[in-house]
């Protein structure tokens, strides 16, 4: 029986980190550490001597981890970027899910696979939730701008809300633009003129 896998997860959002750790612990016999503070990242990671490091592919601190791959780097055992491996399209699946993994040299695919399968599933889920949240926020912002533009039109032209919206929609169609874009232009222009 080999020793527990040591996994480091780099993630500063507490809820996301917990969700990833829980999933990993269910999937394998492993010791999982979360690093949230990004100062001196490579040295912090080295202190844990992990077998696997998982990080969001869009995390800009990823470049700090590249030091792990240097011969003179902070880890004893050299590290390969997992995404370069060619094991059953795991790399492509990982990129698609938005997770990158750094794996120490010599770790077997059998031990790595359950961890990666879990990480890929969990990161996909988190990414999807984040995309949905961003979409909701954007829709809310646009709604606010459209309301302000409608208000401006109602006041300037003495028309009701429905007529104001119809006017915005017509302008958008005539110019081949989106209603929120036309509304934003109107609000900006009104701000300048006002």
């Amino acid at each position: 029986m080999s020793a527990d896998l040591k996994i480091v997860v780099v993630e500063d959002d507490r809820d996301r980190a917990i969700s990833i750790v829980d999933a990993l612990k269910d999937a394998c016999v492993c010791d999982v550490v979360v690093i949230a503070d990004r100062s001196g990242l490579a040295r912090q990671i080295a202190a844990h001597q992990p077998d696997i490091v998982l990080i969001d592919i869009n995390n800009p601190t990823r470049d700090m981890m590249e030091e792990l791959t240097l011969a003179s780097g902070p880890l004893d055992r050299p590290v390969a970027m997992f995404v370069s491996g060619n094991s059953d399209g795991m790399a492509e699946a990982a990129i698609e899910a938005g997770v990158s993994a750094y794996v120490v040299d010599g770790l077997s695919v059998q031990r790595l696979k359950p961890v990666m399968d879990t990480a890929i599933a969990r990161f996909s889920m988190v990414r999807q939730m984040r995309d949905e949240l961003a979409e909701t926020r954007r829709a809310l912002e646009e709604r606010k701008v459209i309301d302000r533009a409608k208000g401006l039109l109602m006041k300037a032209k003495g028309i009701d809300e429905e007529a104001a919206y119809a006017l915005l929609r017509k302008a958008a169609m005539d110019q081949g633009r989106r209603v929120p874009d036309v509304a934003e232009a109107l609000v900006t222009a009104a701000g300048l003129l006002g």
Partner: protein, 394 residues
């Protein structure tokens, strides 16, 4: 007209200009292509997107394809550097603590003399100086190491840490790094936000250093020669357009857009015009050729530049000692000549030169008469002959 779309990854930096402007100014459209420009969050991400086929071309640090070929850094896809995207354009700066000490010493911040700057730094610091750089395989690291090797910093010692430029101010404040070497606009941003002051342009260390490269997967270059040619010509034309000072205002405006660099056009113009503000008190310095996209056959990927990078990487990190034949499969003057031939632009006759030997503009043999190469000297006056062994450390 239908344009063939080519996905291209880039980091939001001033020297991504030839790619961004190839698209924005219609040079890509004139070649029948559209560049689908994807801003990346990190250099690792640019490399992975290219290596795993998410994009077909990328704005890349010139040492990265060579490091990959040497087996450094953990990703091993074959990448070709087909053109230099930019020459020079980095700045070395210090945090507020070192700045205050240098001021107290009476240091002039001449932004010119690396030897004097190194001596001043040694005088005001007790131990090794820690520099933040964007990526372990970069011209930033190579310039810092070369500067340290040939100056008072050698005995004193430097350490180099990777810190993404957006986090540099935080790392300086936390005392993780004392100084930095970054590309624009990050140097100017650090001055603007009061995080630091600029000490030297990268150019002061090596006056013609290949900074970013246009990188493609080697197998894509082989299977899509027609698209590659269109891409290279569009980018070359954008570089030529950028070399006219009259274009700087328009270029700065376009680059400053939220979708691209998302910083003020004024900050971007500083790098393009070489008119830099180096301290928060507003000291200015004018650096000709601060970043170069065209003049002096800037885009030409010299095998001798590649050999220099390989020797330096090998000294610091080990990795495979690439032969000339292996290097020529990564840095591709052959493809550069082949695909730019249609433009009938003038290219050098040779594919390698002695680096560091040109001290003032020099006319050299080329396909259509003569082209003028720009000075390519090193600050310590050494020359690098790619045919000879790398000069031993002093």
């Amino acid at each position: 007209m239908n344009y063939v779309s080519i996905p291209v990854a880039y980091m939001p930096l001033v020297d991504a200009a030839p790619l961004i402007l190839a698209q924005e100014m219609g040079f890509a459209a004139a070649e029948g292509i559209a560049l689908d420009l994807i801003a990346a969050p990190s250099w690792s991400s640019v490399r992975d997107m290219l290596a795993f086929g998410r994009v077909d071309a990328a704005h890349m640090l010139s040492p990265v394809p060579l490091a990959m070929g040497m087996g450094l850094g953990g990703v091993a896809t074959e990448i070709s550097s087909v053109s230099n995207l930019s020459i020079n354009g980095n700045v070395i700066g210090v945090g507020t603590e070192l700045k205050a000490k240098l001021d107290a010493l009476g240091f002039s911040f001449d932004f010119h003399d690396p030897i004097a700057a190194a001596e001043a730094l040694v005088q005001v610091s007790d131990g090794p100086i820690s520099f933040g750089v964007p990526f372990p395989f970069s011209m930033h690291v190579e310039l810092l190491r070369y500067w340290a090797d040939g100056s008072a910093l050698q005995k004193h010692g430097i350490t180099i840490r990777t810190v993404p430029p957006p986090l540099m101010a935080q790392a300086l404040a936390a005392g993780e790094v004392d100084a930095f070497c970054v590309g624009e606009p990050w140097g100017s941003v650090s001055v603007e936000t009061g995080a630091g002051a600029l000490l030297l342009p990268g150019k002061a260390i090596w006056s013609f250093a290949p900074e970013k490269t246009l990188a493609v997967r080697t197998n894509w270059a082989e299977t899509e020669p027609d698209l590659l040619g269109r891409l290279m010509r569009a980018v070359w034309k954008a570089g030529r357009w950028l070399s006219d000072p009259a274009a700087h205002a328009t270029a700065s405006d376009l680059l400053s857009r939220k979708a691209y660099l998302d910083v003020s056009a004024e900050l971007i113009d500083r790098a393009l015009s070489g008119h830099l503000t180096i301290t928060q008190e507003g000291d200015h310095r004018q650096i000709d050729g601060f970043v170069e996209f065209h003049s002096g056959a800037a885009t030409f990927p010299w095998l001798s530049q590649a050999r220099w990078i390989v020797e330096r990487l090998h000294m610091a990190n080990g990795g495979a000692a690439l032969t000339d034949v292996q290097i020529a499969k990564i840095v591709r003057p052959d493809l550069h000549r082949e695909h730019l031939a249609k433009l009938r632009c003038d290219l050098p006759g040779a594919s390698a030169k002695v680096e560091g030997a040109i001290l003032s503009s020099m006319a050299v043999a080329s396909a259509y008469g003569q082209i003028t190469l720009q000075p390519d000297g090193f600050f310590d006056g050494q020359i690098f002959d790619p045919e000879a062994k790398f000069p031993p450390k002093k």
